[in-house]
Symmetry: C2
Subunit: 197 residues, 2 copies
């Protein structure tokens, strides 16, 4: 009963709360995370968490921020096609690994506001293709949307008769082939237009 004021194992910081939330999500899924369970997991009154986080959506925004932060940056020396594919595959892996959180972010802007993948490197890579400027953003978003659509379809029991993830990843890679081919064709048409007046 002596040193209870040393360094209380109870500082209950936002960081520890997010740690615990990520742990529960990884273990029980996002639907298994409740504010009450979170308190219990932290060895604290279920409602204590509300002193550090305004509400559940803010907590999920913080979880999103941390999750997005784990995406590794692109290889800047690679040609633009390689960088686009790199970005797409890496984000695909991230979304597949955090499907429920991505869905929650698409359903609630406050959760999504916690963090989005940084699209600047992707946009920069697409820009290098030579596409007219007004088509750069739409084509970058096409990549983002294809990632979301494909990665969120994982586990929809539709498609893939046999091997599951692997098939879908390969199919997604084919999709990137098509997008890159399309960007190349449209960029060539543009350079044709501008070089000979």
């Amino acid at each position: 009963m002596a040193d209870s004021n040393r360094s209380d194992p109870h500082p209950l910081t936002v960081e520890r709360i997010v740690d615990a939330a990520c742990l529960i999500i990884e273990r029980d899924g996002l639907s298994g995370l409740s504010m009450r369970k979170l308190g219990t997991e932290l060895g604290v009154d279920p409602m204590a968490v509300y002193h550090h986080v305004a509400h559940k959506r803010e907590l999920l925004a913080l979880v999103t921020k941390r999750t997005i932060g784990t995406m590794t940056p692109l290889d800047p020396s690679a040609p633009w096609e390689v960088r686009v594919r790199q970005w797409a595959i890496r984000y695909w892996d991230l979304v597949v690994a955090h499907r429920e959180l991505t869905l929650a972010g698409l359903a609630d802007p406050e959760i999504a506001a916690g963090g989005r993948p940084s699209t600047e490197p992707l946009i920069a890579a697409v820009a290098e293709s030579g596409l007219p400027t007004d088509l750069i953003e739409p084509n970058a978003f096409l990549v983002v949307d294809a990632v979301h659509g494909s990665a969120l379809a994982v586990g929809s029991l539709d498609r893939h008769d046999t091997g599951g993830h692997v098939d879908l990843r390969a199919a997604f890679d084919n999709g990137i082939d098509t997008i890159l081919a399309g960007i190349t064709l449209l960029a060539d048409a543009e350079s044709e237009r501008t070089t000979r007046p």
Copy 2:
């Protein structure tokens, strides 16, 4: 008090239940639909619904089925590029109009099992491009995924600084341009390969 056995206004069929569910979803959003509110809306004990529908997910599967059924078929005489775009735009409109339901379907296979958009006409259109057979399905799924990604991003407050929906629809149309260009290029490469051995 006489004719209470004529034709009781209480037959409470599955159809009437789905009607009411769609009405509530349209009015209050999917998050505004509860089994209890549904019963009240039908002028019946909240729990009576469970006599006709096993659980909420089955109800949402039925709602999905009805919603999917509203997609109009393609114009079969149009060239394949036009049919692909037609399919994409029509499905895009449907998903935008039923974002929450689509998200619920992506989160829960039992809900999605209620109905998916019929991809056969889309696959048939893509097949006409001349793409090698093993690339037909992946490219059709690319279209489906691009629709999901783009339509679900509507309302994410990201993108579109100005005009909202209209911009995103136009950007999506640009995305379809790229996909069609990509398919064309890959199909040409294939015909090159097969005609001259």
